[in-house]
């Protein structure tokens, strides 16, 4: 486990999509209890895990996340009765899809963290952060974002210069 204040070569960006009723409160509890956990995680609060569209996860990776955490109420505790049951099925399917297109599932974590589980929150976040740190940056989507179709590619300035020299 990382000790706060340790310098690392790579600080992963972790995006956490959490439900407001359980996990957000759990993270809040961790904070008010002064528990330490990596500052790499950015929290986005949703009314329910059922509201977390798989496309959000995709978008997070596209926008530069190295790891994504989705967390909500334990089964049976959903504020909206069944939101997390639906989410569970959806994410079970979505992670299979991501795996099939070549996303390493070690970068994606799902968890149930209740409002009382500040400790579990710290544990989940720390483990994911450290795991992703070992894996290094998520390059696939970032590289993809920089790619052009061949027809839209421009000559780089270096190439241009080299070409001009051939011409002379």
């Amino acid at each position: 486990m990382s000790t706060p204040g340790t310098k690392h070569d790579f600080e992963p960006k972790i995006i956490a999509f959490v439900c407001t009723w359980c996990t957000y409160a759990g993270a809040d509890l961790a904070g008010t209890s002064r528990m330490q956990y990596p500052a790499n995680v950015r929290l986005l609060k949703f009314p329910c895990t059922g509201r977390i569209d798989p496309i959000f996860i995709l978008k997070a990776f596209q926008q530069g996340a190295d790891g994504v955490l989705v967390s909500g109420c334990h089964p049976g505790d959903c504020h909206y009765i069944a939101g997390n049951f639906h989410a569970r099925r959806r994410f079970a399917a979505f992670r299979k899809l991501l795996e099939f297109v070549g996303v390493d599932l070690n970068r994606l974590q799902f968890s149930w963290v209740s409002a009382a589980e500040g400790g579990k929150w710290v544990e989940v976040v720390t483990e994911l952060t450290e795991r992703v740190r070992c894996m290094g940056p998520m390059l696939e989507f970032k590289e993809l974002a920089l790619e052009e179709q061949w027809s839209g590619k421009l000559d780089s300035l270096e190439l241009q210069e080299a070409y001009n020299q051939i011409q002379v």
């Binding site: 496309i55 069944a82 639906h86 099925r89 899809l97 070549g102 052009e148």
Partner: protein
């Protein structure tokens, strides 16, 4: 080794479709029949809506009748008149799509008159329509078809389709091949495939299940998927498409057939179908279900992947 596939039943099927269409049009059972008609190119066919019994003899069925006509009955095709009951010519795979649409309350069984086709298989995409059907030219979906005789139709010509050729199931073996790769290899595979995508949305437009009046990808507040046909946006679009079809796709493979760039889109759909079968024991079939696998849940669903 290439072996011819017997499509001789299609002559009888064509005759039966014509007779039945003429009957139901003239006795007022339906106001129109959606089927296939011959087109200009040798051996080719195209969808047609016949509303006059006199035109029923335009209808045909051949191995080039590849389209899934269910798409013309969905909300996305508002322009097709839906005054009264409509007859539709359906293959087994098309019927599964219609059944799915009924399950999603998009269609009512009573509004349809289903003319089922005993099917010996159809041609694969981008094959010249005049080509003879054989084990090389047959659409890959037909090799995995288990329902060559549609069930639950109002009319099915009394002919028996020949048994399916025992051939390698291309999707299953391709999925297995991809699953055996490392994530990086799979990423490279799909990246190459999606690099061909031009965002023509043919895959979406022909899909019976893409009936949203406004696709997420056509909405721009917020723009969840980039509209530009660049690698990043292409990847995002295909992931979104596969996800939105998971648990709904009936396996008609229209997306793959329609793709002008030969992207193996049905592979994604088949993979999701395989996973949903394993996870929730769901398979698309001929029985109308109240809820698809991702629209319902049980308390005992697998959660081994959740901490």
């Amino acid at each position: 080794m290439t072996q011819p596939i017997d499509t001789s039943i299609y002559t009888a099927v064509t005759d039966a479709i014509r007779t039945e269409a003429a009957r139901i049009l003239s006795d007022g059972t339906v106001t129109a029949v959606a089927g296939y008609a011959a087109a200009r190119r040798k051996g080719s066919s195209q969808p047609i809506v016949v509303s006059d019994a006199g035109n029923a003899d335009k209808l045909i069925f051949t191995a080039a009748c590849v389209n899934n006509l269910a798409v013309y009955l969905t909300k996305a095709k508002k322009d097709i008149p839906k005054s009264g009951r409509i007859g539709v010519v359906v293959k087994g795979c098309d019927l599964r799509a219609l059944v799915g649409l009924m399950g999603e309350s998009q269609l009512k069984r009573d509004d349809l008159y289903l003319i089922g086709v005993p099917c010996a298989g159809v041609l694969g995409s981008t094959i010249q329509p005049a080509t003879e059907l054989n084990t090389d030219t047959i659409a890959p979906k037909c090799l995995e078809c288990v329902e060559r005789l549609p069930v639950g139709c109002d009319f099915v010509p009394a002919v028996t389709p020949p048994p399916a050729p025992e051939l390698e199931k291309k999707y299953a073996s391709e999925i297995a091949r991809l699953e055996a790769m490392t994530p990086a290899e799979r990423w490279a595979y799909w990246k190459e495939q999606f690099s061909k995508c031009i965002k023509c949305y043919a895959c979406r437009q022909v899909c019976p299940f893409c009936f949203c009046e406004q696709c997420l990808c056509d909405r721009n507040r917020p723009q969840m998927v980039e509209t530009t046909p660049r690698p990043a946006g292409n990847m995002a679009w295909h992931i979104v498409r596969a996800m939105h079809l998971a648990g709904r796709c009936a396996g008609c493979a229209e997306c793959e057939r329609a793709c002008p760039m030969d992207i193996p889109l049905n592979l994604l759909n088949r993979k999701m179908a395989k996973e949903l079968k394993e996870l929730f024991d769901y398979e698309s079939g001929f029985e109308v279900l109240e809820c698809g696998p991702l629209a319902t849940f049980t308390e005992k669903d697998d959660q081994s992947f959740i901490k």
